[in-house]
């Protein structure tokens, strides 16, 4: 596994990024802008499932409005994240927060595009209020872990 990470960082792309004084900062800015957007798209629906925010709207309608924003910002996050990773793969290998982030990211994506998707698309009355609340809280907890651990990669080492 380490050899793999090492090879990525010392690949041509990794070296170009590492040697550019601006590349990391610019990519990170894009990562942060997409973070703001994905946060809004997730929160609008999760808050709604908790009975907060846009609570006069139907959950399936709100969720389908947010879906393209969620998917687009997630793609930008993954792409910019991959670039950031390429420039410091070896550091990431030794970073505990990095592995926490990747694990919770895998769980968050899995949960969002299976359980959460199914629940937010269900017709009126099929899901109990407690069901909505549980899904919203799990979603918030998973994505919060991704964000918090992600920020912590920068503090460690």
């Amino acid at each position: 596994m380490f050899d793999y990470f090492h090879a990525i960082e010392f690949s041509a792309a990794g070296q170009v990024l590492k040697n550019s004084p601006w590349a990391f900062a610019v990519t990170e800015s894009v990562h942060l802008l997409a973070l703001s957007v994905i946060g809004g798209a997730l929160l609008a629906v999760d808050l709604r499932m908790l009975g907060l925010g846009l609570r006069r709207q139907k959950i399936p309608e709100l969720a389908s409005e947010m879906q393209p924003i969620l998917v687009a910002s997630l793609i930008v996050m993954l792409l910019s994240g991959a670039v950031l990773f390429t420039s410091e793969a070896v550091k990431c290998y030794y970073s505990y927060p990095f592995w926490v982030k990747m694990s919770s990211l895998a769980l968050a994506i899995l949960f969002t595009f299976t359980v959460r998707r199914k629940v937010t698309r269900a017709e009126d009355g099929r899901i109990s209020p407690i069901g909505y609340r549980t899904v919203a809280l799990v979603s918030l907890a998973l994505w919060f872990a991704v964000g918090a651990a992600g920020r912590w990669i920068g503090f460690s080492g």
Binding site: L32, S36, V37, G40, L43
Partner: protein
């Protein structure tokens, strides 16, 4: 008038030194500042996109402002509190940082934009709030908000880089823009 003496005084206070040197407190405050982007900027982006007629077109604008504004205000308060703490921890370097200055100036413009919208076209929201495509002035406010907050987020991130720090010796323009004073760091 320079705020440098104030920043120098602030940097010598016990709380500033403690926060600056803390192992966990500073990273925690910064994490809170960054993650609150999701709440504050995330919600603002949704409203801006609605003003541009790009999302939630069937939902009246009033519904969105009524229901999401409290969350945006809560997010903004958290942003300001954590932001002030971050400044409190590193006052002199922040004050003499071009990106910090750019961010503060852009914040003023974002505030003016929000104020102009709120006390302008928003007052007639009952006339246009249900339209898929709001009037030009509302769309302009949404577009301006998206641009200004993007500049604020990016320049905020750039404060962390030392490219233009006074003590590294800068061009005349940066020395002027950052308010560099020889011997002060």
């Amino acid at each position: 008038m320079s705020l440098l003496p104030f920043c120098q005084w602030l940097a010598e206070t016990q709380g500033s030194i403690a926060l600056h040197e803390s192992l966990y407190m500073y990273p925690l405050v910064e994490s809170a500042h960054v993650l609150t982007l999701c709440l504050f900027v995330g919600m603002s982006v949704l409203l801006d996109l609605r003003l541009l007629g790009l999302t939630m077109r069937r939902i009246p604008v009033r519904e969105i402002t009524d229901r999401l504004l409290p969350w945006m205000i809560a997010g903004f308060v958290l942003m300001v509190v954590t932001g002030v703490l971050l400044f409190y921890a590193i006052p002199i370097r922040s004050y003499q940082n071009v990106f910090f200055r750019l961010k503060m100036i852009t914040l003023v413009f974002a505030g003016l934009n929000a104020w102009t919208y709120h006390y302008g076209i928003h007052r007639k929201i009952d006339e246009w709030g249900s339209a898929v495509k709001p009037p030009t002035r509302a769309r302009m406010a949404g577009a301006m908000s998206l641009i200004l907050w993007a500049v604020i987020v990016v320049s905020g991130r750039m404060i962390a880089y030392n490219w233009f720090d006074c003590d590294l010796g800068q061009s005349a323009f940066i020395n002027w823009a950052a308010g560099c004073v020889p011997g002060v760091r």
